[in-house]
């Protein structure tokens, strides 16, 4: 009796895990199908080499620069008496509200000659550094300030305390944030197309649009998946499995802010310049296009349709992702073990795959196996569900963890069946958290471009795809209202992320 509900939940979670394995299975299957000789000619060619070099250059420039920027900003806002530190902290997260391809749209309209590696690195750093800023700033608030006092009492000046005591303890935060940025760089399509910088993602979409579902695109996808795996492995290697948690009782005294004195003025230049580049440029550009376009760009009918479609897809996709993540989230909290870890790994890995790979896999599978599903909303929703599965899982797991198992047992003792106990007690208590994670996923879908472009049924217009087709026609003014709406829709997401990073450390 006791085992039964667990077994059925394991079954459901296993089903979702199996679906998550589809893209990876597709890559392996296609490689086998193509045949070794063709694979060799398709993979070991100059074009792939070029793309690989581009990708590596992009990563090795963007990530270290983002680390330097994020750590300096986090230190200034969290550990010093920089004037307006709270405001700067907000402004350091706010660039996340602007989708990456809107960042590059802004830069391209401001400096049309911007292109290639330099342009790609510049816009990537500005669009993605908050992914590092958030965890690094949170960690800086957590590090026991007594540690720095001890460093000073052992004869270290402020600089050496920073490098020998504080920085090593940020390692996990820096690793995690860098991985996130690295994966985004691999997956991003819109940003690099606009800035005219070729990556695997842009090349795959190009191939897909010219030859549809040829082996060339599929093999590029295979290499891209290898890049993702390589990045994940590299991060695991650097991170190691050392425990860095704070030792001891943890009754920390509040952080003493470092007094900048006359240095405050030059230090202010860092957040000022960052804000000007990461927020000023997009908003000034948007404002300029909106003014230039006047009322004529607000084609309310079309914008309304796109908005409606986006909303519909976003909510449906978010619900799907959340429902799919529920069995796994429940198991992670209630039945941790080896099996649960394996299933959970399947749920998580799919989120690190680029949208272009997931889309390509679903296109091939629908065309070859279930043609009626090709170019339907169902396939698109499945792609959203897979891409945002980890995001839904993280939120759900935290909220289920808040409903203690004792309550379920109490309900069963009062005559409810296990399923009733879960649905009436646990799900009821987890509902607010689940709603938040639905919202998070929905906001993510709103700004999704690549998979939507490749999978959406003909005539489906979302904010992102409409923005994209207008900018492709160089009608920047008409694209501005769509960009503005995406930014406005993303603001709550940004607020939520900022609030969450504070709540995690209990403030």
């Amino acid at each position: 009796m006791r085992r039964l509900p667990f077994l059925s939940v394991f079954g459901l979670a296993g089903l979702v895990a199996l679906l998550s394995l589809l893209p990876l299975g597709f890559v392996i299957w296609v490689t086998i199908q193509t045949g070794w000789d063709t694979v060799v000619t398709l993979v070991f060619r100059a074009r792939v080499g070029e793309l690989l070099i581009n990708t590596v250059l992009l990563e090795v420039w963007t990530i270290p620069l983002s680390i330097v920027l994020a750590v300096s900003l986090a230190w200034l806002t969290e550990r010093t008496d920089l004037p307006g530190a709270r405001l700067w902290a907000w402004l350091a997260v706010a660039p996340l509200a602007v989708p990456a391809f809107v960042h590059s749209y802004a830069w391209i309209s401001m400096a049309p000659s911007l292109h290639g590696l330099f342009g790609g690195v510049l816009v990537s750093v500005l669009a993605y550094f908050p992914f590092l800023y958030l965890p690094v700033a949170a960690q800086m608030r957590r590090v026991d300030p007594a540690m720095e006092d001890v460093g000073a009492s052992l004869g270290l000046g402020p600089w050496r305390v920073f490098f020998r005591v504080l920085l090593p303890q940020l390692r996990f935060a820096i690793c995690g944030g860098s991985l996130l940025i690295g994966l985004h760089l691999l997956a991003e399509y819109g940003l690099f197309v606009m800035i005219r910088f070729d990556t695997f993602a842009t090349a795959i979409v190009d191939q897909f649009q010219s030859t549809f579902n040829g082996p060339a695109a599929n093999m590029l996808a295979g290499v891209l998946v290898l890049c993702c795996v390589g990045l994940l492995a590299l991060e695991a290697l650097i991170r190691g499995n050392e425990r860095y948690a704070r030792v001891g009782s943890g009754s920390a005294r509040p952080i003493t802010k470092y007094r900048l004195g006359w240095l405050a003025l030059p230090c202010l230049l860092i957040p000022l310049a960052t804000t000007a580049l990461a927020l000023g440029v997009p908003f000034v550009t948007l404002g300029r296009w909106l003014i230039a376009g006047g009322t004529s760009v607000w084609k309310l009918n079309e914008i309304g349709t796109a908005f409606g479609t986006t909303l519909l897809l976003a909510v449906a996709g978010a619900l799907l992702a959340t429902v799919a993540a529920t069995p796994m989230a429940w198991l992670s909290v209630r039945a941790p073990g080896r099996m649960q870890r394996a299933l959970e790994a399947c749920h998580y890995y799919v989120g690190s795959l680029p949208g272009v790979v997931v889309a390509l896999a679903l296109v091939t599978i629908t065309v070859r196996v279930v043609l009626p599903l090709y170019q339907t909303a169902a396939t698109l929703l499945l792609a959203y569900g897979l891409l945002f599965l980890p995001r839904a899982l993280v939120g759900l797991r935290a909220s289920i963890a808040q409903a203690p198992v004792e309550l379920e047992r109490a309900a069963m003792a009062l005559g409810r069946t296990p399923v009733q106990a879960v649905t009436r007690i646990t799900m009821r208590l987890a509902a607010p958290g689940a709603a938040a994670s639905v919202a998070l996923v929905a906001l993510g879908i709103t700004n999704e471009l690549t998979a939507t472009l490749m999978l959406a049924p003909n005539g489906t217009r979302t904010l992102a795809t409409e923005f994209w087709s207008l900018t492709s026609e160089i009608d920047y003014a008409a694209a501005a209202p769509y960009a503005l709406m995406m930014v406005v829709l993303s603001l709550p997401l940004t607020l939520l992320l900022h609030a969450q990073s504070k709540r995690i450390i209990g403030r």
């Binding site: 001890v150 009492s153 052992l154 000046g157 050392e242 009782s249 003493t256």
Partner: protein
């Protein structure tokens, strides 16, 4: 000889004055305990001495060198001051050896010998050398923390409640071990604690702080027996506070006429006795009512709380002595051993050992 001299030091945070005009001298090689309830400013005082904060006014000198003169200070890393915190603050990313050697020159050839010598000094097994802080017990972490602070041969050691995170039994052992290590090394030490027993047993000099002010400083014994006010008296241990009439060389109180150093004072005053100064002798009821001995008090046992080694007896004071200025004395609680414990309802004679302390 004064080694550390703190003169008129004040530190404010906004409207609250954390440390209020504190003056304290610490002799070379001595151990001073700063004790007070939480929020009394004792940790802030320690941080001012360590150079982690700058005072608003006042002066700190160490061995003749001015460390702080108002807000102008020598920063922490230029003072030769060791620092051990409540939970050790070991660097989680470094091994035990690297933690201990953190303040030592990386290129010095005898670095590993020094680390081993330090581990030996704090009685740590060399097996631990390559362990990580989270693999150590609380007591071991504090030993590493102490060794790390000793590595730079500081002139002054600051201990910020280093034993409070440990279990009761371990706490006492660690206190003795740390005191022994520091005494052997001849390092002047300041211990901050909220535990009065720890302060009294650890230090040569105890400084009591309350609401940012230094209330009283002196040898533990004299502080315990002659506290300056009733709050300090109760803070340092259980105290029996009684009203009394002062005579010439004696006082009258609920426990009869007691010999006391009255110092030419007359009139009424409040006195303090420590519970262990009182001794109970069983007497008959008629004896207790007659009260033949004017130099002792008589009472009736109204309640007994059995506590093993130490039991608490509550007594109602009898006879004339019980009242003072027309007020009947409140029942007193006396600690005594379980041997010869009277029963509830018994009558006792209360004898006082030593002299009572008269508050000024």
């Amino acid at each position: 000889m004064t080694f550390l001299d703190i003169r008129g030091v004040t530190k404010r945070y906004g409207v609250t004055t954390a440390v209020d005009d504190v003056t304290l001298s610490v002799p070379a090689g001595s151990r001073t305990a700063v004790v007070g309830p939480s929020g009394s400013g004792k940790t802030t005082l320690l941080r001012l001495i360590g150079g982690f904060e700058a005072p608003d006014s006042g002066q700190v000198t160490l061995n003749g060198d001015v460390l702080a003169e108002g807000a102008t200070i020598v920063p922490a890393h230029r003072r030769s001051v060791g620092f051990v915190t409540q939970d050790g603050s070991l660097f989680p990313h470094l091994t035990v050896a690297d933690n201990i050697g953190f303040g030592l020159d990386k290129r010095s050839p005898d670095r590993s010998q020094r680390i081993l010598a330090l581990m030996d000094m704090v009685e740590l097994d060399p097996i631990m050398l390559n362990r990580r802080p989270h693999q150590l017990s609380g007591g071991q972490q504090q030993r590493v923390s102490l060794a790390r602070a000793l590595a730079r041969q500081p002139k002054l050691m600051l201990l910020d409640e280093p034993f409070s995170a440990l279990d009761t039994g371990l706490r006492e052992n660690m206190r003795k071990a740390v005191a022994a290590v520091l005494k052997k090394a001849g390092i002047t030490t300041i211990l901050v604690t909220h535990d009065q027993a720890e302060a009294l047993s650890f230090a040569d000099q105890v400084a009591v702080m309350r609401q940012g002010k230094l209330v009283q400083a002196g040898p533990p014994r004299s502080l315990y027996l002659n506290p300056s006010d009733r709050t300090t008296a109760s803070f340092l241990g259980d105290a029996i506070l009684l009203p009394a009439q002062i005579g010439n060389g004696w006082i009258d109180c609920a426990f009869g006429r007691l010999k006391a150093r009255t110092a030419e004072r007359l009139g009424t005053a409040e006195i303090m006795l420590r519970p262990e100064q009182l001794k109970l002798v069983s007497v008959t009821e008629s004896d207790a009512v007659a009260a033949p001995d004017g130099n002792a008090g008589y009472g009736k046992v109204v309640d007994i709380e059995f506590g093993g080694a130490v039991c608490t007896v509550t007594l109602a004071i009898m006879g004339d002595h019980g009242s003072c200025n027309g007020q009947r004395a409140a029942p007193v609680q006396i600690k005594c051993s379980a041997v010869n414990l009277p029963a509830t309802g018994d009558h006792v004679r209360i004898e006082v050992l030593g002299e009572p302390h008269i508050f000024g």
